[in-house]
């Protein structure tokens, strides 16, 4: 049966979903992910002053724009050959940590949380709610909710106590962000060469007071979510299959260590490994690489199902990287964006999203980011490189040490590599990464304050824009991998291609026919909802999609069918004739 969710709410951007659901077998048969908005940043940025890049690219996204601004500043630093003062980098890390704390919190509680709230569970799985009423929360002493149903009630939109508290938390974490980067979400104080923020004792006091409130908050939230998500495994045996796909995770690393990062391409492999979130490609649970140079050279942009003309035969901007390695024509440095608006056709072209893939020498892997946190924790855990006291990567887990707060003692959380890459583990990782970001912020605040106390208050360094240059920035946006590739010619932008996480996650079937991660994850999703097709909500599908934290005006259209016969309910979704 065909079913469409269009637009999907409680995500960022316009997203539609068209599916084919096999109600007899209670499975999603097919899923198509489409996007209905095109703006054309790489087109209108050409010919502009390279120093404008971070101001412009921030506007790509209204919830993680600062990640773009940061990534652009990294790419510009490389292109201009400038290394910001250490203090400037600590302030950026503190700003970006606050962005993680804010964004994961608001998304988890106010957007995703509603999928697990009492009202939603009552409307989709009344049996599960009944069980939740009878199930005592194992960590009630930590978070104060006696039963799982109490947790669910607290997540009800607006009326739920925890829902409203999370909104407040999303505000003071944004205040923390604004202290460091001026304003949210498009920063005002970020520049190539550093920041314009005045680093004073007051700045750190204002930040730290709020940070410690957040640390205390996380001591309640981590156990609360463990209880909630563990309950779903228990209440619905087999729920691990929802949103599950093969472990194909990418993480481009985040939060530079200024003591090692000099922003040169030549040393990128080394300083990449010093990041406080370790870059890495993880396939089937194994770390393929944590080398940013190799990661960079492996990126390929495929088309296949997107509304663009191919750029084959067009000019190649970069044939070799600064180390002399060959650069592929399908690499972002060499991409040309040629929009070709056309009708949506699920047999052919159906989305404005392209299909980024990572080439491991053999296959073009459709990596996903697990919403961001899952890949970040997985990659950091496997590499075992981060060791800053507040956070330690062990090779199989990440240990997060939170200090004593106003009413709660010192607390340690350990995120262990899960058995599956699925919806619940993406959500669980999000909560743990909130604690991780707070812990790294504690480290950065210590380091930054030490600079201020030593009188080293410079936060910005002068630079010149060269006539010819290239740059790349790597970071982790909230939702995962983010890269910016820039080419400068005659002192102007000749080519600029940002690749945020959602193009990876929401990508479409590529030239090889490989589905994108949402499509892939949703196509495997079993249906546990108790409703009949007539009052079906598709909650399991929504949980699968939202676990990736979709962001940006991009879409998913899915299509559902029962074997050979397709029965269209009320309206055609534009998918008729597709596999049915």
């Amino acid at each position: 049966m065909e079913m469409a969710w269009d637009p999907i709410t409680r995500i960022v951007g316009s997203l539609g979903i068209h599916t084919k659901i096999d109600f007899k077998r209670k499975r999603v048969a097919e899923c198509y992910s489409t996007s209905s908005v095109f703006r054309g940043y790489s087109v209108f940025m050409r010919g502009k002053d390279p120093r404008d890049a971070h101001f412009i690219t921030s506007r790509i996204c209204g919830i993680c724009g600062d990640n773009h601004a940061t990534c652009s500043v990294y790419a510009q630093n490389m292109a201009y050959g400038v290394k910001p003062p250490h203090l400037g980098e600590w302030l950026i890390n503190l700003g970006e940590s606050a962005e993680y704390m804010f964004d994961h919190n608001i998304f988890q509680e106010n957007l995703v949380g509603v999928d697990y709230c009492e009202r939603m569970v009552r409307e989709t799985n009344p049996g599960v709610l009944e069980l939740a009423e009878r199930t005592e929360a194992p960590h009630a002493a930590d978070h104060g909710y006696r039963t799982i149903a109490d947790i669910m009630r607290s997540l009800n939109p607006l009326e739920g106590e925890f829902y409203r508290e999370a909104l407040q938390v999303s505000r003071y974490t944004r205040e923390m962000f604004c202290l460091m980067e001026g304003r949210h979400v498009h920063p005002s104080t970020l520049y190539p060469g550093g920041v314009g923020t005045i680093a004073s004792v007051q700045l750190f006091t204002d930040y730290l007071s709020r940070l410690m409130r957040y640390v205390e908050f996380m001591k309640r939230v981590v156990p609360l979510h463990d209880d909630l998500f563990d309950f779903f495994y228990e209440a619905l045996p087999g729920y691990e299959e929802v949103g599950r796909r093969r472990v194909l995770l990418g993480c481009w690393g985040a939060l530079n260590d200024p003591e090692h990062c000099d922003f040169t391409y030549a040393h990128m492999t080394d300083w990449g490994r010093r990041m406080f979130v370790t870059p890495g490609v993880v396939v089937d649970g194994k770390l393929v690489t944590n080398d940013l140079t190799r990661i960079n050279l492996g990126i390929r942009i495929l088309l296949g199902s997107s509304y663009y003309d191919d750029w084959e035969g067009q000019e190649q901007f970069v044939t070799r990287d600064p180390l002399g390695n060959p650069v592929d024509p399908r690499h972002p440095w060499n991409q040309h964006t040629i929009p070709a608006p056309q009708k949506r056709n699920f047999d052919d072209k159906y989305s404005w999203v392209m299909s980024p893939r990572w080439f491991d020498g053999k296959d073009h892997l459709a990596l996903d980011t697990g919403g961001g946190p899952l890949a970040r924790l997985w990659s950091t855990a496997l590499s075992g490189l981060v060791d800053i006291g507040f956070v330690k990567a062990t090779g199989h887990s990440v240990v997060i040490n939170l200090p004593r707060t106003l009413t709660k003692p010192e607390t340690t959380f350990e995120w262990k590599i899960p058995r599956w890459s699925n919806a619940l583990e993406r959500n669980r990782a999000r909560t743990y990464f909130q604690a991780y970001a707070a812990a790294v912020a504690l480290h950065c605040a210590e380091k930054g304050l030490a600079e201020v106390r030593a009188g080293r208050t410079q936060t910005w360094e002068k630079f010149e824009v060269p006539d010819e240059s290239i740059g790349v920035g790597f970071t982790e946006a909230v939702r995962g991998v983010l890269s910016h590739h820039m080419v400068i010619r005659d002192g102007k932008i000749a080519n600029y291609h940002p690749y945020p996480p959602t193009p990876w996650n929401a990508s479409t079937r590529d030239t090889f026919g490989t589905p994108g991660p949402y499509e892939d994850a949703v196509q495997n999703t079993p249906i546990f909802e108790e409703n009949t097709p007539e009052n079906f909500k598709g909650i399991d599908i929504m949980r699968a999609v939202r676990s990736f934290d979709p962001c940006l005006p991009c879409g998913v259209h899915m299509y559902t069918g029962s074997g050979r016969t397709v029965k269209a309910m009320h309206v055609p979704t534009g998918l008729s004739g597709l596999g049915g």
Partner: protein
Amino acid sequence: MNAGTQAPVERQGAAPGSDEKPIHILWINAGLSCDGDSVALTGAMQPSIEEIALAGLPGLPKIAVHWPLIDFECGPVQGADTFIEWFFKGERGEIDPFVLVIEGSIPNEKIKPEGYWCGFGSDPETGQPITTSEWIDRLAPKALAVVAIGTCASYGGIHAMAGNPTGAMGVPDYLGWDWRSGAGIPLVCVPGCPIQPDNFAETLTYLLYQAAGSAPMIPLDDKLRPAWLFGATVHEGCDRAGYYEQGQFATTYDSPKCLVRLGCWGPVVKCNVPKRGWMNGIGGCPNVGGICIACTMPGFPDKFMPFMDEPPGGKVSSTASRVYGSVIRRLRDITGETVDKEPKWRHAGDELTTGYRPPW
């Protein structure tokens, strides 16, 4: 809040069981947008979204918000609680009155043979996306008021930059600057990239009071901005203006002095951020070291790029200010030294020297 199929952000009437008809808010975030204005609004505190939705301020009418960012409803399209159905209801006149909020710039859909630059929901007839422009054509004539949130929807913004492929424009460019709703309300534009959270919350609250009959016509300037929010320039509210007056200009971005020579356009930009702060009085732009790139203005961004160059007009005035500013500074230094000292009668000696004469 009731269970069932009503929107989650719908509150029950102030009096329980009241059958007061709600004012619906239909929110289209599918212009050429980044959703940054939606996100920014969740940060508002004066008032907050929950205070608006649950009538935390006295006299607010009952509302039902259909806002993609946080809506409980999702679909599927054919199902019982489909989100997009509210927009069809608006078109059919079934949810009168409603306020239409548009986020993102409006692309020109006429410049290409087929396809769409941006769509919102699917057309049941064709299975193709319904373009955002088409939604505006359908809904604007029936709306109580149309509000453009953010600089993109107001004036085109970043996505209407020179060289853009979509022909993007603001809502007034699309509907006409003189457009009036059936109720006689002009388009309301709240610019900002993104909007300052409280600026929009306040404008929305004002319109709800107006709809409830307790406030007069919203006062707008000739660019359709709320007059009380956008009447003054950045510079007039900037706490670094003192440095300007004294001719002290930053030569590096991490300096606490005036940033005019490093790219700040504050003196000619209408925006209240330095005065108001970004949220809860914290943050801002030039007041905290971030040059004003004029993101609230109709000329944004092209008329202000390259952002990090000194505005051409700034050179003359800042040079003048340097000359007389240095004189002023010298005089202030002298006064400053005087007022930095306590009067001489504050001491621990045996004698009282304050000028008081005891009557005995």
